[in-house]
């Protein structure tokens, strides 16, 4: 039935009928042709490296479409002056200096094979090539993967194995300060798009031998790698297995960002709250790793996913731990008050204005009535309109770069608001309410949680419009029940408050740093059972 309704609104189109504007055969005719079936994704390649150099070269040319793809470099050379070999790498992905100095120069040196015995690939890896990271493989899939990552593959005639060496040297952004999680005190480093750099940033903070970094494919057809980091012997095994299980189940076309990975692995896809914490700060990720969390890094994404994440994790700012306790506690209280104001104030005001005028004092009543004298819209519509405009200004300010983005915030906030009041489109009291709401929204440190708050705010406002305080209370109870039933990788979302778990660290106030010696009870780390 649902399918039929959906089909009705699609005007009877079948799935897959939507066309690209441009195809490989050019711009389609006016009446359009049906889209060509896309080639099926390749089955996993189980071939092995050939002993024939020519065949290996041919396979590479076919796989990488060398006839039209000039990126693949196939450099034949003579190994030790005796045996034919060739080197394969992708232009721009490999560092050509390393290739020249440590592979070609060392490989072409006469006499380097004089004492060769046994497997040639292994001998050259151990005795000829002076690259820091090298391995041999006979799996063709590994060779392709390595070349695509920027490593170099050396094939040797009559040898059924290839030598893979880490010559990655593609251009990448250097480590800069965080964009979304700025702090005053604390490190000013953020993750970058390079996976190796990100792992290094974490290892610089965590000098523990139990820190494990497992690499695997992300599950997308684009072959991106992910790294799963945790502390072996500390982190709960069930948690690690669950993370691996969910990542292993990914089978999709593209995984290009951490947001995609998050949505593909989460359990409650309809929940506005995120079930993992996305952070661009290595120090924050390291601190959570020490607590027994699992961190997932994705090649090409400057964010790390930390799981599990509770509401209190999402509401914690990275700066909290760097501040002194009174200041930190005060700011956290203000943050929670700001979040509550952001979510509840518009709905509360609307409920009082429409249904429960007796709760407002006479002064406020007369002020609001005076401000609404010439406003044509009902107060509910006015509130929703302003909330939407606020979101528009916010989005516009984010999309427009640099100083112009700041100017849009000023223009939108001040001038537009003032002009709207003067033009009697909105009343000033409602404008103040929405402004306070906006300020409260920015108190929430996590961006995804800010968006969740926006969702709650809008629905509560509509509920207040329809049902007054009854609607607000009922919907708020529903949301809280939802949060109470939500779990992030098995950990209840409202833990350690509800259910109550042992935690000497206060949830809202900033606890003493000495308390942080123990891992959080909700993580149920293995050291508790030792």
């Amino acid at each position: 039935m649902l399918d039929q309704i959906i089909r009705f609104f699609r005007f009877g189109r079948q799935d897959g009928e939507f066309e690209l504007l441009e195809t490989e055969r050019g711009i389609p005719e006016f009446w359009g042709d049906a889209r060509e079936e896309a080639p099926l994704p390749e089955q996993e390649d189980t071939r092995k490296v050939c002993k024939s150099l020519a065949e290996n070269e041919e396979r590479l040319r076919i796989s990488f479409r060398a006839d039209i793809n000039p990126d693949l470099i196939l450099r034949p050379f003579t190994l030790g002056g005796k045996i034919p070999a060739f080197l394969a790498y992708l232009n721009g992905m490999a560092d050509t200096d390393q290739v020249s100095d440590f592979i070609l120069r060392d490989g072409m040196r006469p006499g380097c094979l004089d004492h060769a015995r046994g497997d040639l690939a292994r001998y050259t890896m151990e005795n000829v090539f002076t690259m820091g990271e090298a391995e041999t493989t006979e799996a063709w899939a590994d060779v392709k993967q390595a070349v695509m990552e920027g490593r170099s593959a050396v094939f040797i005639e009559t040898c059924g194995q290839a030598v893979l060496m880490d010559t990655r040297g593609f251009e990448h952004r250097s480590v800069t300060e965080p964009q979304a999680e700025k702090v005053v005190h604390g490190p000013q480093e953020a993750f970058v798009e390079n996976l190796r750099t990100n792992i290094t940033l974490l290892r610089r903070i965590l000098h523990t031998e139990d820190l494990v970094c497992e690499m695997r494919g992300a599950g997308g057809d684009n072959g991106i790698r992910i790294a799963i980091l945790y502390r072996e012997g500390i982190t709960n095994i069930t948690l690690v297995e669950e993370v691996k299980r969910r990542l292993a189940q990914i089978d999709t076309r593209t995984v290009i960002g951490m947001g995609v990975l998050e949505q593909l692995t989460e359990e409650h896809s309809l929940s506005p709250f995120p079930q993992v914490l996305q952070t661009e700060r290595p120090d924050r990720s390291a601190a959570l790793l020490m607590q027994g969390h699992v961190v997932v890094l994705l090649d090409g994404s400057p964010f790390a996913s930390v799981m599990p994440a509770t509401l209190f994790t999402l509401m914690t700012s990275p700066e909290d731990v760097y501040m002194r306790r009174p200041q930190g506690s005060t700011i956290r209280i203000v943050r929670y008050i700001g979040a509550m104001i952001s979510i509840l104030l518009p709905a509360f005001f609307l409920a009082l204005a429409l249904y429960h005028q007796g709760l407002l004092s006479t002064e406020v009543l007369t002020t609001v009535i005076a401000s609404r004298k010439m406003v044509f819209a009902p107060i509910g519509a006015e509130m929703i309109f302003l909330l939407v405009v606020f979101q528009l200004i916010r989005e516009a300010g984010m999309r427009v770069p640099g100083n112009i983005g700041q100017a849009i915030g000023i223009i939108g906030g001040l001038i537009l608001g003032q002009a709207a009041v003067a033009a009697n489109l909105v009343s000033s009291v409602v404008l103040i309410v929405v402004a306070l709401t906006g300020l409260g929204n920015f108190c929430i440190p996590d961006y995804s949680t800010q968006l969740a708050a926006a969702f709650f705010r809008l629905t509560l406002t509509i509920a207040a419009w329809i049902g007054g305080l009854l609607g607000v209370i009922c919907l708020m109870t529903v949301f809280l029940a939802w949060m109470a039933s939500l779990k992030s990788y098995g950990v209840p979302f409202l833990a350690p408050f509800s259910p109550k778990a042992h935690s000497q660290k206060p949830m809202i106030l900033r606890g003493r740093l000495t308390m942080h010696q123990q891992a959080e009870d909700i993580m149920n780390t293995q050291e508790e059972t030792l």
Binding site: N236, T238, L239, E242, Y355, H356, G358, L359, S361, G467, G468, L469, L470, G471, I473, C474, T477, V478, L480, A481, W482, A484, S485, Y489, G490, V491, P492, L494, A495, F497, S498, P499, K500, A501, H502, D521, I522, N524
Partner: protein, 370 residues
């Protein structure tokens, strides 16, 4: 606390029981007949909770002695499957009845005190789906949301009793019904129809509470706190209104500020307090509804509890609609005889189980010796 285990802790259980008992005692038991002979409700209402606690402890002791994991198993152990089924059906019906009483009361309150211009049905349609939704998510969700609100509701109740403290006068409690102790005791006994089901439901779900001991502790803490709060509330009501006013008053707890002369903004927040109590009623109603569905499924259905909860919720909606169109006599019967139907069989069950387990232990020891 272990990951991935759907268990409920003691704090959650205590909060849940506290909310359920306070809501039922303050809002379901509060009827005009309670003030016919003067005001003894500050004894009879907490007394009803106390009697429920006594029965609860008896049953918990019997469960521990006999090694039964929950109340349903205890009933089977004491009386056998057939009688156990009858008692389970009784628990089911009484839990449902309590859900009905509580939600009905709050529907009437919200309609009469806040939305008097609208009809009743929209108010029902706001409240009942929320109760169903919370119950649908299961015992964990109900207990956790009770933990979220338990302390807040308790503190708000205490503050709402403290604000009008200037208006309390001891003479309003007089004349003390010193010649009516038997009536007070009878009222306390009759009131157990609203308090015992909450405690029994906790024992039915003892496995979700990580065992009988944990459930017992949570139940005792919740009940003791409830006794204190209910006694304080009824004393406050008694010191604000005389019994003649209470006989004709609807929800006196809502009107505690009315005797005060000095204005303060806090005195206009009685509607906010009403909605806070509504949250407590939603949680308690969901608890009762889930309990009814849970007992039904454990007994007669091998399937998930959630469809039973939805079915019970829809029946609740129909009952509420019918009741507010015309009086539903069946529920008056429950109010009259419910306490007898609860106290006698379950006391007997506890006694039989204790005796049986004692003899079985003895027999086991004798067999070992032999």
């Amino acid at each position: 606390m272990k990951l991935c285990q759907g268990r409920v802790g003691k704090q959650e259980g205590a909060n849940l029981i506290g909310i359920a008992l306070v809501s039922s005692a303050l809002f379901v038991l509060d009827i005009a007949e309670a003030y016919q002979y003067g005001n003894g409700t500050y004894v009879s209402f907490p007394g009803a909770i106390f009697l429920a606690l006594v029965l609860f402890l008896l049953l918990a002791g019997a469960m521990r002695a006999s090694g039964q994991k929950d109340l349903l198993a205890l009933m089977d152990f004491a009386f056998g499957k057939f009688v156990g089924n009858i008692l389970s059906a009784l628990i089911c019906v009484l839990l449902f009845a309590n859900a009905h009483f509580l939600v009905s009361r709050f529907t009437t309150m919200v309609h009469a005190l806040v939305f008097m211009k609208a009809t009743l049905f929209p108010v029902i349609l706001w409240i009942v789906p929320v109760v169903i939704y919370i119950a649908f998510h299961g015992f964990e969700c109900i207990a956790r949301i009770a933990k979220c609100f338990g302390v807040i509701l308790g503190v708000c109740l205490l503050f709402s009793l403290l604000f009008p403290i200037d208006g309390y006068e001891a003479y309003r409690l007089f004349p003390l019904p010193l010649n009516h102790w038997d009536t007070i005791a009878a009222d306390a006994f009759t009131g157990t129809f609203a308090t015992i089901p909450a405690m029994l439901a906790l024992l039915c779900m003892a496995q979700g509470m990580q065992g009988v001991q944990s459930a017992k502790k949570a139940g005792v803490i919740g009940a003791v706190i409830s006794i204190g709060l209910v006694a304080a509330a009824q004393i406050a009501i008694g010191m604000t209104f005389t019994y003649t006013e209470l006989q004709n008053m609807f929800v006196p707890l809502y009107r505690l500020n009315l005797k005060l002369i000095q204005e303060s903004y806090f005195f206009r927040l009685d509607k906010m307090l009403l909605f806070l109590w509504l949250i407590g009623a939603l949680i308690a109603g969901a608890y009762y509804l889930y309990g009814a569905g849970f007992v039904f499924c454990r007994r007669w259905s091998r399937y998930d509890v959630r469809p039973a909860v939805i079915a019970a919720g829809i029946i609740l909606l129909c009952c509420l609609t019918v009741e507010h169109m015309k009086q539903l006599q069946a529920f008056q019967v429950v109010r009259q005889y419910g306490s007898w139907l609860l106290v006698i069989p379950f006391t007997a069950a506890a006694a039989v189980a204790l005796v049986k387990s004692h003899f079985l232990k003895k027999k086991g020891q004798t067999d070992e010796k032999a």
